[in-house]
Structure formats: structure tokens, C-alpha cells
């Protein structure tokens, strides 16, 4: 302190100091190793222990994977080929490939239909996931559910067309009357859609599906990983809008709406999904008219959607609560009405905050679609536990089958998680 003051406090730099390279050993892989893996004794010990564990794991699994047998037709044959050596019996996957993917009842000459539906799905969700793509592509997204329904279930094309017309009629009514009064537009739209469906349903002749262009496939013939994907995609895309509606309803000033939403959310969250699925498989039939045999697939979709919508609603409620009150006030003070404020200001921000939570629910939902195996639907896990493991050829091949199932689910879930991280980065506009 004192000796700096003893000189002069004033200082002016007259010569520029040139930049110099860092001292040796301060860059490169050696430095990285030293800093990250061997910075002190404990760290070094942990590094060595971790390497040991990795070695043990690989030394056991690698021979099993690399010695795998891919071409035999039963476990017994497989064992013969291996002659006591360690090695996986992957032939179960090649031999039962179609069953694992499509179930064991889907007509094998029709596999192109779900395949095509899957390819078209990529085109349909692209503009939803990547909003830099032209908005016109959304037109295909809107038609896709009906197209996919027709491709997978086949039968008369009139059914999906009537369904589509019903939605269009509802949207039209909402467009025309929703502006003056939201309630009139909303309930008018529902009434119009149902009117079209009922009248259209009566107009479709009874035998329309018998000689249709695409052979009709009943829901109970769907199976394999295809069934998981169908349930996952349908339920995620239905439960997101339902979850948003529930979250907004829970915040509503109108007590009736608020209470309906609260009771729904709390009830559904308080019940295990598996019980809801049992309800779907046996009891839900009581709620529909006795002569209508409501499709099991539809019943399961309703239950899973309700379940995940309740969770998504709570996630979004957190996002809504995290927004400062000033955002609502600014939107109000500019004269935006409630739907505009929600759609343009509040939801874009609340949803952005909720992305990690929503993805969490979506990933969980997708994996939970395997629970339908418990109510004797033959999804991927149902196929493995049922027809494949019960067969005389493949009785006892657990690791290969379940490992394969895990791999398929991991690929999809990892993809979802990577997408959500990209989305969060893409939407990061606040530099606070």
C-alpha cells in the first residue's frame, strides 16, 4: 500500500505488451488428463476404479455380443452352434423380426401400410417440430391422422373421410360464430362435428369395408413395436392440447370450470395408470351404449391420454406460475383479449419454460405404453412375454429379447430428449 504510494500514482502505458504463447504443459491432452482425471490422489483413484469397472463390463459383454448367432431357427440350434462358448442368440430377433415389429396377427402382405404410415409420419411432424419449415406443410399434418388411420386399419375410406369432414365442419362453425361469442362457437362446433359424424355414419353402407381397396384390419390384430409407436404418438399429440386446456382451466376465474379441471387432474393423478388401463379393458364398456363395441385401442388411448394430460397440465401450470405478472398486465394494457393474450404472449413463454417437464411426461408416457401388455394387448413387451417366450423354439431367450426392446425404446426416447434440448437452445431469446 504505502510503497506504491511512495512512487507516483499516475501511470500511463507507452509500450504495448505483445501476446506470448502459454508456458509448455499448459495446453494439449496431457494438461487435460492432469486437470480432469488425475488432479489429486482421490481423483486418480476414482479414475482407475472407473477404468477397472469399464474393463470388467466390456470383458463380459463384448464376447457375448461379438459371438452372437444370427441365423438359427431355435434356441436349441443356437446352443449347438455355440458349443458351450459365451455368445448371444440373436437369431430370435431375425426369426421373429416381423412379430416384434407388427405383432403376430397383422396380415404379412400388408406390412407396407404401417411402414408407409411411419414414413408419412415423419413428414407430418416435421413442420410441427421444426417451425422454420414453411407453414403450408401443416396442411398435410392436418390430414395425416385420417390418412394414417385409413392406412393402418384399412377398410372403407369413407370412415376417415366422414371423420375429417366432421372436424372441418366444427372448425368452420367455430370460425364463423366463435368471434362474436366463444361459448356459442365452441359448443356449436362440437354439435356440428357430431351431427356430421352421426349422419355420415348412417350413410356409410354396412358392407362398405368388405371389399375395400385396403383390407380391413381390426384393432386386436395390431401389435409389436408398431402398437407402442401408435399409442405413443397418438397419446402425446392428444394429451398436449388437453393438458394446456386443463392448465388454463385450472387458472380460470370461472369457478365451475376451475373445479372440473382441479377434480379431473387430482383424481387422474391419484390413480395408477395400470388401474386406468384395467378400467379401459373391462369397465369402460359400461359407459358406452351396450350395442356399440367401442374399440379397445380407442379405450386405451382415452385412458393414457387422460393420464398424461393431467401430468402435462401440472407441468404447464408451473410454467404459467413462473411468468411474471407484468406479462399479463402488459398484454392486457395493450388491449389484447384473453385468447389473444394466451396464444401470443402467455403460452409461448409458459410452454417454453415447461419443455423439460413436458418431455419428461412424453418419454414416460411412451415407455408406459408397454403396460398395455398387462391387459393382453400384444405390444412389443406383450409379444416378447407372450407368443415368443412361450413358444417351444425360443423359451428362455430373455437377454436378447428384452435388450432389443430396451434398445428400441432407448433410441426413440433419446431422440425425443435430444430434440427437446435443441428446441430449448433454439428458443433461448432471453439473455438474462
Amino acid at each position: 500500500m504505502s510503497d506504491t504510494h511512495a512512487h507516483s500514482i499516475a501511470f500511463v502505458r507507452e509500450t504495448e505488451i505483445p501476446p506470448a504463447p502459454p508456458p509448455a504443459g499448459e495446453t494439449g491432452p496431457v494438461k487435460w488428463l492432469r486437470e480432469n482425471l488425475f488432479s489429486n490422489a482421490v481423483n486418480s483413484a476414482l479414475t482407475i476404479a472407473a477404468l477397472l469397472v469399464i474393463y470388467l463390463l466390456l470383458s463380459k459383454t463384448l464376447p457375448w455380443l461379438l459371438n452372437g448367432v444370427w441365423t438359427t431357427s431355435s434356441l436349441a440350434e443356437c446352443r449347438e452352434v455355440l458349443q458351450g462358448k459365451t455368445g448371444a442368440c440373436f437369431s430370435v430377433l431375425t426369426e421373429r423380426w416381423n412379430q416384434l415389429l407388427y405383432g403376430f396377427k397383422y396380415p404379412s402382405d400388408q406390412y407396407w401400410r404401417p411402414n408407409l404410415a411411419l414414413v408419412l409420419l415423419l413428414f407430418a411432424i416435421a413442420p410441427v417440430l421444426f417451425f422454420d419449415l414453411p407453414r403450408k406443410l401443416l396442411a398435410f399434418t392436418a390430414v395425416y391422422p385420417f390418412l394414417a388411420f385409413w392406412l393402418i386399419w384399412g377398410g372403407t375410406i369413407l370412415a376417415p373421410i366422414v371423420a375429417l369432414v366432421g372436424f372441418v365442419a366444427g372448425a368452420f362453425v367455430f370460425q364463423t360464430y366463435g368471434k362474436s361469442s366463444f361459448a356459442v362457437g365452441f359448443f356449436g362446433a362440437i354439435a356440428a362435428a357430431f351431427a356430421v359424424w352421426i349422419i355420415g355414419g348412417m350413410l356409410i353402407p354396412d358392407g362398405a369395408s368388405d371389399n375395400a381397396m385396403l383390407q380391413a384390419v381390426p384393432s386386436r390384430d395390431l401389435g409389436g413395436f408398431m402398437l407402442n409407436l401408435m399409442l405413443g404418438v397418438t397419446c402425446v399429440s392428444l394429451s398436449l392440447p388437453l393438458g394446456i386446456a386443463l392448465a388454463l382451466g385450472r387458472q380460470s376465474d370461472m369457478p365451475l370450470i376451475k373445479w372440473i379441471c382441479v377434480v379431473f387432474i387430482e383424481f387422474v393423478r391419484g390413480v395408477p395408470l395400470i388401474t386406468l388401463l384395467f378400467v379401459a379393458s373391462v369397465m369402460l364398456a359400461y359407459f358406452f351404449p351396450p350395442e356399440s363395441t367401442v374399440d379397445l385401442f380407442l379405450r386405451v388411448v382415452i385412458m393414457i391420454t387422460m393420464f398424461s394430460a393431467a401430468y402435462i397440465a401440472e407441468v404447464i401450470r408451473g410454467g404459467l406460475a413462473a411468468l411474471p405478472k407484468g406479462q399479463y398486465e402488459a398484454a392486457d394494457s395493450l388491449g389484447l383479449d384473453y385468447p389473444q393474450a394466451m396464444r401470443l404472449i402467455i403460452l409461448p413463454q409458459a410452454l417454453k419454460i415447461s419443455i423439460p417437464g413436458i418431455v419428461n411426461v412424453a418419454v414416460g408416457l411412451f415407455k408406459d405404453t408397454t403396460l398395455v401388455s398387462v391387459i393382453s394387448m400384444f405390444d412389443l413387451v406383450g409379444m416378447i412375454r407372450g407368443p415368443i417366450l412361450a413358444s417351444t423354439e425360443w423359451n428362455g431367450v430373455y437377454w436378447e429379447l428384452l435388450g432389443f426392446a430396451a434398445l428400441l425404446f432407448f433410441v426413440v426416447c433419446y431422440g425425443i430428449s435430444q430434440y427437446s434440448q435443441w428446441l430449448e437452445r433454439r428458443l433461448a431469446t432471453d439473455h438474462r
Binding site: A330, D332, G335, L336, D337, P348, D430
Partner: protein
Amino acid sequence: MSELMSDRAIDRSKMQVSDEVAIEINGMNKWYGSFHVLRDINLTVNQGERIVIAGPSGSGKSTLIRCLNALEEHQQGKIVVDGTELSNDLKNIDKIRSEVGMVFQHFNLFPHLTILENCTLAPIWVRKTPKKEAEERAMHFLEKVKIPEQAHKYPGMLSGGQQQRVAIARSLCMMPRIMLFDEPTSALDPEMIKEVLDTMIELAEEGMTMLCVTHEMGFARQVANRVIFMDAGQIVEQNEPEEFFNNPKSDRTKLFLSQILGH
């Protein structure tokens, strides 16, 4: 108290008060639960008036101006803004809100939209202005608040003063007849306060009707034609700035002024 006065002379040629009534408040009362925040407020503001509302913290200044565009509900009395009475009718409320601009202490810009989108959103959706026209108007007002070059940035990238000027431009894009300011400079550093005040002074020079809650007494002296002092939910004193500052009548005003001006 630092006097952050504008260094340039103020052009008073257009700062004229007309006979037309912009806001009329009659016997207004408001309660938060059982707490009586605003007590028997009577106030008439003519078109073109610049009013500064001052008073200690918690005296109800914010609550008063937030009642004017129905961000807060009042329970008793009558408020008429620009010829439209504030009632529970949502149509009236939306009409008044689109005629009255509001600037907040914490800017409240929409962080997910660019500056330009912040400014065009309400004109496009509320006024149904064509997008192109709305963007031209937005650029016009952004130039006026001197930040046209920031139009394509996001609010989070701007300084506080810049954000507040964007907030002013955003309100102006709705072509309001009345502007409400709730402590627009309280969240800013001193050097940014000046740029925001300059923008507000320009606005006053163009004849905008303004109600400002602010502690910037320099601004009040220079620009206001009336200063209102509130305490405990009541209007205690109102006067022309010269008289108000040099010759306050009520003891509470004297006390407040001595504290805020540090005499």
C-alpha cells in the same frame, strides 16, 4: 435530489391544454379486502394535460393509474376515459385499453418476441392493421425513441433504458390518446434515466395527454402543468408545479418535499 433536467429548452408551442375532457374520475373508492387504498378520488384531466403524481410509497399512486385502464377494479364511483365509462363490460374495457397506453416500472416487454414484433403485435391483432403498415409505424416510433437499429434484437439484449424506450414505442404504436407512466425510470441507472425522460419530454411537446407517477421532480417542474400529491389513498394537494414546489400548502406535502428534495 439530482436534478436530471433536460439540457435543452422545452418547446411549449404544442403543449396546450384543450377543453375536451380526457379522463374524469368521480367519487372513486377502492378496497383491497378491507384495506381502503383509494378514498374518494375526484379528478378531471383535460386533453393535452401533463400530470405528475407524487407521494410516499404505498400511498396508492400505482393503484390509481392502474384503475384508469382497468388493470385494477374499483368498487365505487365513476371513471370515464375518453368518453367511455369503465364498467364490467369487457367491450368497453378493451376499447379503453386500446386508447390508453401504459408504461411500467419494469418495462414488461415480451421476451420471446423481437423489438419489432413487440411493437407490431397489438396493432396487428387488436387494431387489425396490415402487417406491413404496422411495421412501418413501428419503425417510425422506434426512430423517434432513437433505437431503430435494435429492431431485430430481443429485449434481453438491450439495456434498461433502451428497453424502457421500446416499451414507450410499443405503447405509441397503438396510437393512444392518453399515456400512463408508472415510475418509468425507477428501475434505471442515472445515465439511462435521462434518455427515457428525454423521450417523455418529446412526447409532451407533441401534445400527448400524460399521467406520470414519478419521483423525478425535475421532470415535474419542466413538463407538468399540474402536480398531484397523494398520501394514504387520498389526493392531498394539487397545483401548478411552480406553486407546488415553492409554496406547498399542506404539512404533509411540505414534509414529503423536504425529504425528497433533501432540503
